[in-house]
């Protein structure tokens, strides 16, 4: 029983971890808490459902959903970053919150606010290890997220683009002086962060088979918590944070009932903010190569 709950917690945690990585990438490089990330998660899930519903096979639907998220991320970049440089420090945050409201209500206006069932056309295949049940889509999601995060880490630490991003994280004015083309590099951050959140949304849609215009809020709030617990700007910390939140959530449901999930998760977050406000792995921020 406990073993099964740990498996479920890790699966849920990997979804939170992906969202947390998207948020932490934005905070770490741009120092910007991007509230439109939960919307990208929702668009990933809802667009996958919509394209499957329209008759596309699921791999094409997923690809099309990722393209939609890429375009949405570029629009967000224009209005929260490119045209807003030099504005008050809360302005990008406000605009990204407005984008969250905009995308959620756009989804409602287009598809209604009902819970939709995703029918991907493949049957749920489970693997059994002893008494533990692991769904194959879950396993693919978990492995896929680990591989993606590993690729991101390589990108940041080993490539010219990664070096440019780390320079911007240190000081964007200096980066400009050193010849980094900020207007070309920053949109990549938005698209990569959006893609991570969207991939989490796709995994969520295919695993739990349900999508909803407000699905991003619940997961997004847990993703923010995961990011803080791991230490903002630290990718591997976000993964640990995501897994911690996933496990706490599943164990809280198992032992105290579903009503106590939010108290447990956000109570833990509040305690960490009290005693270690910079998270469990503070100090390893983007600029110092901890990303």
């Amino acid at each position: 029983m406990l073993g099964q709950q740990i498996v479920n917690g890790v699966m849920l945690g990997s979804v939170y971890a992906m969202v947390a990585v998207a948020l932490t990438l934005s905070i770490g490089v741009l120092n910007f808490l991007n509230f439109s990330i939960p919307a990208m998660f929702m668009i990933g899930g809802m667009a996958t459902w919509a394209f499957i519903h329209a008759g596309l096979p699921w791999p094409l639907a997923v690809a099309a959903a990722l393209v939609v998220v890429g375009i949405a991320s570029l629009i967000v970049e224009l209005f929260t970053w490119r045209w807003m440089r030099g504005a008050d420090k809360f302005v990008p945050l406000v605009s990204s919150m407005a984008f969250l409201i905009l995308f959620e209500h756009l989804a409602i206006a287009l598809y209604g606010s009902d819970l939709r069932t995703v029918n991907a056309g493949f049957s749920q295949v489970d693997l059994r290890f002893g008494g533990l049940v692991v769904g194959i889509p879950q396993l693919i999601g978990l492995v896929g997220s680990i591989v993606l995060i590993w690729c991101l880490s390589l990108l940041l630490n080993r490539t010219q683009l990664g070096r440019a991003l780390r320079t911007i994280a240190e000081d964007s004015d200096t980066a400009l002086l050193l010849g980094v083309n900020i207007n070309r590099v920053v949109p990549i951050v938005f698209v990569v962060a959006g893609a991570f959140a969207a991939f989490a949304g796709v995994i969520f849609a295919l695993n739990y088979r349900q999508v909803h215009p407000f699905m991003g809020e619940v997961v997004g709030l847990k993703g923010i918590s995961a990011m803080i617990i791991g230490g903002m700007g630290n990718i591997w910390g976000s993964i640990v944070g995501g897994l911690v939140i996933g496990l706490v959530e599943v164990l809280a449901i198992g032992y105290f009932g579903a009503d106590f999930v939010d108290i447990a998760v956000f109570g833990l977050l509040l305690l960490i903010l009290f005693f270690r406000p910079t998270g469990l792995f503070a100090g390893m921020t983007a600029a110092r190569g901890g990303i």
């Binding site: 209005f79 407005a98 409201i101 803080i228 977050l269 509040l270 903010l273």
Partner: protein, 290 residues
């Protein structure tokens, strides 16, 4: 007066009170996105003392505000050790914990909601809003307003000028929470019923949006922001589905065109040719130059 109009006016008054609750920390450069949590604390504690101990709403509502302010102090003092966005994140976590806890507290009805027996009419609601507004305006004519502005513009320079930066941030945050708690108490005692689901993150974010859209440079910003964005959606009621889409798109465009908010210090000076001590800031100077 029609019930509809009265409903809108009460909503407007409550939103204005919330907006001043969000304005105080924003004016000192801190973001409170757990405002709904403090409003919930104010609403539930004032409803509890007026229901159980029979205390008059005029006293119960400020008591609710004081409880919210005390909890804000408990949160702010440890978290403000760090700079940057951590207080905003702590308020976010606190808002979530408050909502989740209230949903599980059977003494105040849990998820079923909590009925409030005492009732206050529209004039009392408006009276509270006017008093809150006047007190904040008075506060910002004192040294407090200038210091808050200095902390908002540059914490380090404010520190060099001898301002107790952390003290001001904690004070602005606790006072803002007090006002949010009062807003919650007004809401509870007019609508006679509260439920934890109302005090969600969307409420917090919407209120912060009102203030930032109105502008944080002057004490008139929250009033204008709350008024415009409470009344504007009412005009858009015809297209219910697209209403929020239009609202959100409006915010994004407004932020792109006028990032300092609708009302700025420089604008007031041009209009009335007066000097608002609160508006002395680099932004205002830039505006004057153009």
């Amino acid at each position: 007066m029609s019930g509809y109009l009265e409903g809108i006016l009460v909503l407007l008054a409550v939103n204005i009170v919330y907006a001043y609750g969000a304005f105080l920390p924003l004016a000192a450069g801190q973001l409170n996105i757990g405002l709904a949590g403090f409003a919930a604390i104010g609403a539930y504690s004032s409803a509890y003392v007026s229901n159980v101990y029979g205390i008059h709403p005029l006293i119960a509502i400020p008591i609710g505000g004081v409880v919210a302010a005390l909890i804000a102090l408990v949160v702010a003092v440890p978290v403000l050790r760090t700079r940057g966005i951590y207080l905003a994140l702590a308020t976010f976590a606190l808002g979530q914990v408050v909502q989740a806890s209230l949903l599980n507290m059977n003494v105040v009805g849990g998820a079923a909601g909590y009925p409030v027996t005492a009732f206050i009419r529209l004039p009392v609601v408006v009276g509270f809003a006017v008093v809150v507004m006047l007190l904040v305006w008075l506060l910002f004519t004192t040294r407090f307003g200038i210091a808050a502005r200095a902390v908002h513009d540059d914490e380090r320079v404010a520190d060099l000028m001898g301002i107790e930066v952390r003290g001001f941030q904690v004070a602005a945050f606790a006072l803002g929470s007090l006002i949010s708690g009062i807003g919650g108490g007004i809401y509870a005692h007019h609508f006679s019923f509260i439920e934890a689901q109302y005090f969600n993150i969307t409420l917090s974010i919407t209120i912060v949006l009102y203030v930032l859209l109105g502008g944080t440079q002057t004490v008139f910003g929250p009033l204008i922001g709350a008024a415009v964005f409470t009344l504007l959606p009412e005009l858009l009621r015809g297209s219910a589905n697209w209403r929020y889409v239009v609202f959100a798109a409006g915010i994004i465009v407004l932020m792109a065109l006028r990032p300092q908010g609708l009302i700025t210090g420089g604008m007031l000076r041009r209009l009335f040719d007066w000097r608002d001590p609160f508006a002395k800031s680099p932004d205002a100077a830039k505006e004057r130059a153009t």
